[in-house]
Amino acid sequence: MTVAVFLEHHEGELQKGSLGVLGKAASLGDDVVGVVLGSGVQELAARAGGFGAQKVYVADASELEAPLPQPRVDALAQLVREQGIDTVLFAASVLASDIAAGLAARLDAGLNWDLVDLAAQDGSLVGTRPALEDTVYADVGWTSDVKLALFRPGTFDPVESGGNAEVEEFTPSFEDFSTQATMVEQAHEESEGPSIEDADVIVAGGRGLGGPENFSLVEELAKALGGAVAATRAVVDAGWYPYSTQVGQTGRTVSPKLYVACGISGAIQHKVGMQGSGTVIAINKDPNAPIFEFCDLGVVGDLHEIVPKLTELVKQRKS
């Protein structure tokens, strides 16, 4: 069994999610190879060895410069056929999901998506897929020869193994139809600090803040902790903060090491987006708020007094 992990990269950095999947695959003991596709990415490929890959296939081609799926489907399909790879794993992203779907069609391969775990059982792989709003977990397998899987973002943390990978270059050939799409423009949302899915520390604000102007309290604490800012649906709805920061059922799912909830009641719609967090600290003036039932440390009090003091203390401790 040879497992390949698609290593997504942006702006010269391998994505944390892909490296996490790589580490997980390596821990299952099979031959694990990484695949890096792009233009000018030789150096990136070598880095994957430090996260569990024994070998990294790299394709360096101008067709692969823009983050478009079809040329990558060509490259991966070729690799699967030529190198005896039977499993390709992806950390879900917009690009990876597109590629995985295309590859599944191309190779007539089964694709399990939204997996949150992977195990080897009696020589075959078994994935874990949540269902019914994460209330049950189903074991899923594959009946196809080639097996594809997309893992939910943020499921695995990268594990630094300190190893070295052999880097092997290959030259994909592209189908005519695969190079028809060109990228016209790439826009980046301006944001300071890490994105909330990647952040180790998140400071989140809810309606208890009292008004959009008070989000500065949350921002300052996040800055002091080196973390990202998140928000609840209620405040995003009210227009206090952008939708891209919304955590919850209809927003993002995050799993930082530390989640500081300021003025958040902890309705289930919010909880399902952050219940995978390591340590949850809640500051709320309502002692009956549901968040106190699932936080690790609860502070009943006025966040307008507590948060600035906390920010001050963190700054002192750091300096």
Binding site: R233, Q269, P290
Partner: protein, 562 residues
């Protein structure tokens, strides 16, 4: 005494004409079907199944209806996603529909009603009272309407119907005074109506006959009643039901109804309703609270009354060691006979089921009327398409009205026509009058008693909220966790489908906040804050001064056990 505001004084911006249009898609992009049914509920699916049978029997009809003889539009994620009822079902019309090809034993029922009891509750006690004759359920079956609907959808597809879920019927297509189909709603619009990357425009679906089976507060049904002047002699009124499904440690062996607490008997509060508790097999039960929306107490919340109900020792005992596994809410049309539309047809159009108000309030039944009306509508539509006839042939669709009038639907509803209104006079007086009406088979007191618009009831503030239990997450629950359990995961950036004034007096703002079981409205200083994505499309706001329009297809709750 201070003037008490009424919700009707703050009408939303809504004009039925916004939702009537001529076909606008280029001719080659229009979708043509034989008979178009709006709403995959018991009425619509029974109608589709019956048409399937008629098409089998008649090659002429099959040819006349074309490639897609029957299409059923459903706004929910799947048939049953928006279906909610008690429900104790009278199986007579289902038997008639399936003509012995399917038996009651093949239908997804939780068994026949074995025993029943009606109780008068006080806060800490329950007194068994004789079962009123209208409420006897011998020979009836307990069901989850959501499950029954899913099963009916399978039967309809087997019978040749095309069921289109996640499709909202937004506009009535009318040409030369005749209904020629509907336009479905757009998908993928943003909060301000802008087109998102996944934007998909709606389509014109054209049909020879359009049959509206939208259920309670049907959007196009309302539009059609306005457009064709079909209002009945009295306005339609509604009740709001909120229910939960529980996994329980010990089976409930009977059907239970309660009256009294936590509702108040005084005439000035106008609180008409009660609860139902039905067994669902060996390990589940369903418990619900229903209250007429003509109530006046701005602080009344049916969801919280249900939570309060569960703290009564008699009720609580049934739930001991159990776990809540489902929740949902829906309105019930309660106007009955006097509020029925003047006619159940218009050119090219038929109205069925709850949408037409075919509900028997004292018997707490409507599902079999929905099935029966769907069946009769199918017969009438097929009759209007018999060789040599068209739906425009005089009397062709009118045959449906005649059939309904000759059916048990009509005689049942006529007999109990004044009972609901009697309870506007308080619980005890209402009870006495209802008894007289039953004894005289509806002859006494004589005449028809009018209903009054729910939104005309003035709003008064009381201290009732202090008595609602603080949710403990085990026996009693808040609204938001309940919305979550309904399966609702509507995206937050969808356009607001709720037409409601936000600049209303505090009493009205509080009334909406408390009334809504899904926490859509919040009364804030001087205005109402709205969270449309919480909406479970129960329809209460339309009864009480607002107007729901169809949200994006596929949004809203995803009921499975209700």
């Amino acid at each position: 005494m201070a003037r008490r505001p009424r919700p009707a004084e703050y009408p939303p911006q809504f004009d039925a004409r916004e939702f009537v249009d001529e076909p606008s898609d280029p001719p080659d992009e229009r979708i043509e079907v034989g008979i178009l049914i709006v709403g995959a509920g018991p009425a619509g699916l029974a109608c589709a199944i019956r048409i399937g049978q008629l098409v089998q029997e008649s090659p002429e009809l099959a040819e006349r209806l074309g490639e897609v003889p029957v299409a059923v539009l459903e706004k929910g994620k799947q048939p049953g996603s928006h279906a909610l009822s008690g429900a104790v079902v009278n199986p007579r019309s289902l038997r008639r529909l399936f003509r012995g090809e399917k038996r009651v034993a093949d239908m997804p029922f939780y068994g026949e009603v074995e025993a029943e009891g009606v109780y008068f509750l006080r806060r800490d006690s329950a007194l068994r009272i004789p079962t009123p004759p209208t409420m006897k359920n011998h020979g009836n079956y307990v069901a989850s309407l959501s499950q029954l609907t899913r099963w009916l959808a399978e039967q309809a597809e087997e019978a040749g119907a095309t069921v289109l879920p996640e499709t909202a019927a937004e506009k009535l297509l009318v040409k030369d005074g005749r209904v020629v189909g509907v336009r479905t709603g757009d998908k993928g619009r943003g909060r301000f109506g802008e087109r998102l990357p996944n934007f998909e425009p709606g389509s014109d679906i054209l049909a020879k006959v359009t049959i509206l089976c939208e259920g309670t507060q049907g959007h196009l049904t309302g539009v059609a009643i306005d457009t064709f002047g079909l209002e009945g002699e009295s306005p339609q009124v509604w009740a709001l039901g909120v229910k939960e499904v529980w996994k329980v440690a010990k089976p409930l062996r009977r059907v239970v109804h309660t009256m009294g607490w936590p509702l108040r008997p005084q005439k000035r509060f106008r609180e008409f309703g009660g609860s139902f508790i039905y067994p669902m097999g060996e390990d589940m039960l369903t418990i619900g609270m229903v209250v007429g929306l003509d109530y006046r107490d701005a602080d009344l919340s049916v969801h919280d009354l249900l939570q309060q109900l569960k703290t009564n020792p008699f009720v609580r005992k049934m739930l001991d060691g159990g776990e809540r596994v489902g929740w949902g809410a829906k309105t019930i049309p309660e106007g009955g006979f006097v509020a029925l539309p003047k006619r159940l047809h218009a050119p090219g159009l038929l109205l069925c089921g709850d949408g037409a108000g075919l509900v028997n309030v004292p018997a707490l039944k409507g599902i079999h009327y929905a099935v029966e009306s769907g069946l009769l509508a199918a017969d009438a539509a097929a009759g209007a398409l018999a060789p040599g006839r068209t739906p425009w042939t005089p009397g062709a669709l009118g045959a449906y009205d005649d059939a309904v009038r000759e059916s048990f639907i009509w005689s049942d509803l006529k007999e109990v026509r004044n009972m609901r209104q009697a309870f506007g006079r308080g619980f005890y007086m209402g009870g006495a009058l209802a008894g007289a009406m039953t004894a005289s088979k509806g002859k006494f007191p004589p005449g028809d008693h009018p209903t009054e618009l729910d939104a005309e009831s003035p709003a008064v503030r009381t201290d009732r909220r202090r008595r609602y239990p603080v949710p403990d997450g085990k026996l009693t629950f808040d609204k938001l966790s309940s919305v979550y359990l309904s399966g609702n995961r509507t995206r937050d950036d969808a356009p607001n489908h709720i037409r409601v004034r936000t600049d209303v007096p505090e009493e009205i703002a509080v009334m909406w906040e408390q009334m809504c079981p899904a926490q859509v409205y919040e009364a804030q200083d001087g205005h109402v804050e709205i969270t449309p994505s919480n909406c479970v499309q129960c329809g209460a706001i339309t009864a009480k001064g607002g107007r729901l329009t169809p949200p994006e297809g596929g949004s809203g709750p995803e009921y499975t056990l209700t």
